[in-house]
């Protein structure tokens, strides 16, 4: 049973437009979430995070929104750039047990 779900395996967005990646979770006991970006043949790299005391966290072109009542978070990238093409993983931090990841969304930025 997946505790962190990313229902879109892939997403294609035109360069310059907004990319919106979605993530749902089931266990609200752990309330810190992270987004990772992964290029082929590389390990995931940390992108941005959010804790439940906030509903929004912004870092440059990247913004993460958290809707606790809906158990949903989203990552917005604006404007999208070619270098943003990668697989994006949503993860829930479960204390010392580490991270529980979604299956990832492959973002493709089209010129």
């Amino acid at each position: 049973d997946q505790q962190v779900k990313q229902n879109s395996p892939s997403l294609s967005v035109q360069e310059g437009r907004i990319s919106i990646l979605n993530c749902d979770y089931t266990n609200s006991m752990f309330d810190y979430f992270l987004w990772y970006k992964k290029y082929p043949a590389e390990g995931p790299t940390f992108l941005i995070s959010i804790s439940s005391i906030k509903d929004k966290n912004e870092d440059g072109r990247f913004t993460v929104f958290l809707n606790k009542s809906a158990k949903h978070l989203s990552l917005h990238i604006v404007p999208s750039q070619p270098g943003d093409s990668a697989v994006y993983f949503c993860a829930q931090h479960r204390g010392a047990d580490g991270l529980t990841f979604g299956k990832g969304t492959h973002l493709i930025i089209q010129p």
């Binding site: 940390f46 804790s51 010392a96 580490g98 990841f101």
Partner: protein, 116 residues
């Protein structure tokens, strides 16, 4: 080193053979995690080491899988009698415990294991 180092980067093995994967964490990172990513899947937790405490092995898929870590240094993940379903990228991450945790996790580039 500056990052988490994993070796080998690629491994092709015959079904039934044993394989050993290595992870060199960042110096000073007390926590070390192994994850597995099978094709089209997310990262699946395997095992967690924290200092000298007993490891959390709850994610290991079968008794063919084992892992060791000496103190706060190198870890090895061993898969005995490999099966085709073991084919995956095996990722290691080390972490400096603290809050917030986001910046603390550093992943290696992984070992791509192919069982033929």
């Amino acid at each position: 080193g500056a990052g988490v180092s994993q070796s080998p980067s690629n491994k092709v093995t015959e079904k039934g053979k044993d394989v050993e994967l290595r992870c060199d964490p960042i110096s000073g990172h007390t926590a070390l995690y192994w994850y597995r990513q099978r094709l089209g899947q997310g990262l699946e937790f395997l095992i967690y080491f924290q200092g000298n405490s007993a490891p959390d092995k709850s994610g290991l898929p079968s008794d063919r899988f084992s892992a060791e870590r000496t103190g706060e240094s190198v870890s090895t993940l061993t898969i005995q009698r490999t099966q085709q379903e073991d084919s995956a990228v095996y990722l290691c991450a080390s972490r400096l415990l603290g809050w917030p945790p986001g910046y603390g996790y550093t992943f290696g580039s992984g070992t791509r294991l192919t069982v033929v």
